[in-house]
Symmetry: C2
Subunit: 199 residues, 2 copies
């Protein structure tokens, strides 16, 4: 099922935090001990541009959390609008209940293999992905379910992110990022505004 | 300049995290020792629904950070599309350079007073606000500029958020939330999608 990334283009690490700067819902992917998982997470944010560093909330009850803690690695995929149904599905079921199968198989989600950490990642219907390494922070993980991670590789679909910039237009509506309002309702990235200097 | 909140409607605390669930840019407001400030922050996220709890990144160099640490209080305002120019302006200048004036005055931003903490908040051009109390976490503040806060009061413009739900439509485009792509370019909340169960 794993294939090598193809259409995606590498995003330089100094631009990696921009992939999450506008608050999209992400899919968190993980693998450890021959198991792998994917779940949706509405709560993530960059905390630094250089080095590119992200905080992401991963609930204690999740199978993903077991695999993340075991491996020290976290994949983050930024789904496009066409992926909304699958994003909600992988956010609603637990991979624990599917063993020995997993959610990639159950929901027919094609997997690509991350170039640095070998993480399972997704490109079909996805705008961008990031491979990340956990910075152990036991207290914030326990108290706030908040994990800090360093981005070690990133790539994006050049139809929607290239040269370090998002470009949302009518031609790439399927790749407009999803922003979770709750209960399976998402708002998509819409029109772009450029702030004007105040007089 | 301070007036009492009027058109806004109180958001019950159990719905407060939903105001930031979809990753909007926020304005961080603060006051201490007779000084007050407002700055833009692209990086915030809920970490808990109940109690409503938020993480927000406030850089060490900012005047806002001085006031937040001094007071232990943080205001978060969610600007609408019509506020984009001012959001970028308050994110680009430092209140330190304006003393004894402040950015509210310099950019003609009308202030309302928070009902619980007395924080300076904004409603004109704004979709929602939250008053928050700092949870001291010295390590994550120092290492990641990340502040954890508990929401103690919240309110929203009922034209865009009511009964615990965002409603973005053609009639309230000025209140569509802003999501910062970088360098003063924002993408607005656009069309709404409801995920369908997978077959």
């Amino acid at each position: 099922m794993s294939v090598t990334p193809s259409r995606f283009i590498t995003v330089p690490l100094e631009h990696a935090s921009r992939l999450l700067n506008h608050g999209p819902t992400v899919l968190v992917t993980s693998a450890a001990g021959g198991k792998r998982d994917i779940m949706a997470a509405a709560w993530s944010m960059p905390v630094e541009f250089s080095p590119p560093r992200i905080a992401v909330v991963i609930d204690k009850s999740t199978y993903t959390r077991e695999l993340v803690v075991a491996s020290g690695h976290v994949g983050l995929c930024v789904p496009g609008a066409a992926f909304a149904d699958k994003a909600y599905a992988v956010g609603s079921a637990s991979g624990r209940d599917l063993a020995p199968e997993d959610k990639f198989g159950a929901y027919a989600i094609p997997v690509v293999t991350g170039p640095v950490l070998g993480l399972p990642l997704v490109e079909e219907g996805i705008a961008a992905w990031l491979e990340c390494r956990l910075i152990p922070e036991r207290h914030t993980e326990a108290a706030y379910d908040t994990f800090f991670v360093d981005v070690v590789s990133a790539a994006a679909d050049p139809r929607v992110f290239s040269q370090g910039h998002w470009e949302f237009n009518e031609g790439n509506a399927d790749l407009h990022t999803l922003h979770h309002l709750g209960a399976g309702v998402f708002v998509c990235a819409g029109r772009t505004l450029r702030a004007k200097p105040l007089a």
